[in-house]
Amino acid sequence: MYRYDKYDQAMVDARVADFRDQTRRRIAGLMTDDQFKPLRLKNGLYLQLHAYMLRVAIPYGTLNSRQMRKLAHIARTYDRGYGHFTTRQNIQYNWIKLEQAPDILAELATVEMHAIRRAGKASATFPPTITRAPLPTR
């Protein structure tokens, strides 16, 4: 299981603060969608058919109980009580509100988790959490 050192934690915390400010500016009309879109994608946030979707990284596909409880807490508090584990062992929340996304990232950071580079082209230039599912999908 990957554990953060103080540099990891500082970087993730700073990233959350950056995204909170970027989100505030987007909602306030100080940024256009074209300006904001690459920033939200770099923080794991898509806009899909029905709502925003947040994809959270699970490094090596392993979780401790504290992290698992945090994921459940996020599902209950910010989503509709569930999430989807992907074949690459990320977890996706499908009913996220943009204005709450920074709070979710802040909650994730408290248990050494993040959504950095989990979406869009940003994810193609960043290693996946695992290279493939450990079991055949069929």
Binding site: A28, G29, L47, L49, H50, A51, K97, E99
Partner: protein, 99 residues
């Protein structure tokens, strides 16, 4: 008829232009004629909609609004794989409206 749809900037909810405001119910959508892009420019600048676009739609026999493309009918109802999460969870025939 032509109607406008997009997603609510803050919540991501699918929304429809009513002529004065936005609604999550497609049946509230207003015919915008040739003014769609003009309305979108104003609403986008005011940060009331994200990714808005103009689509073709028709009036149902019962007066409802039915988007021409199935993608937008799916957006209007909600996830087809989870009827309980749609806008009409108690209507067993809601999915037929989409197809």
């Amino acid at each position: 008829m032509k109607i406008i749809t997009g997603n609510d900037l803050r919540t991501g909810a699918v929304i429809w232009w009513t002529g004065q405001d936005w609604s999550v119910h497609v049946e509230d959508a207003a015919d915008v004629g040739d003014h769609g892009e003009q309305i979108l420019a104003v609403e986008d600048a005011a940060c009331r909609v994200n990714g808005g676009y103009v689509i073709e739609a028709v009036k149902d026999a019962d007066g409802g609004v039915r988007p021409a493309h199935i993608k937008d009918r799916v957006r209007a109802l909600g996830p087809t794989v989870r009827p309980d999460l749609t806008l009409k969870p108690a209507d067993p025939n809601a999915g037929n409206w989409v197809i």
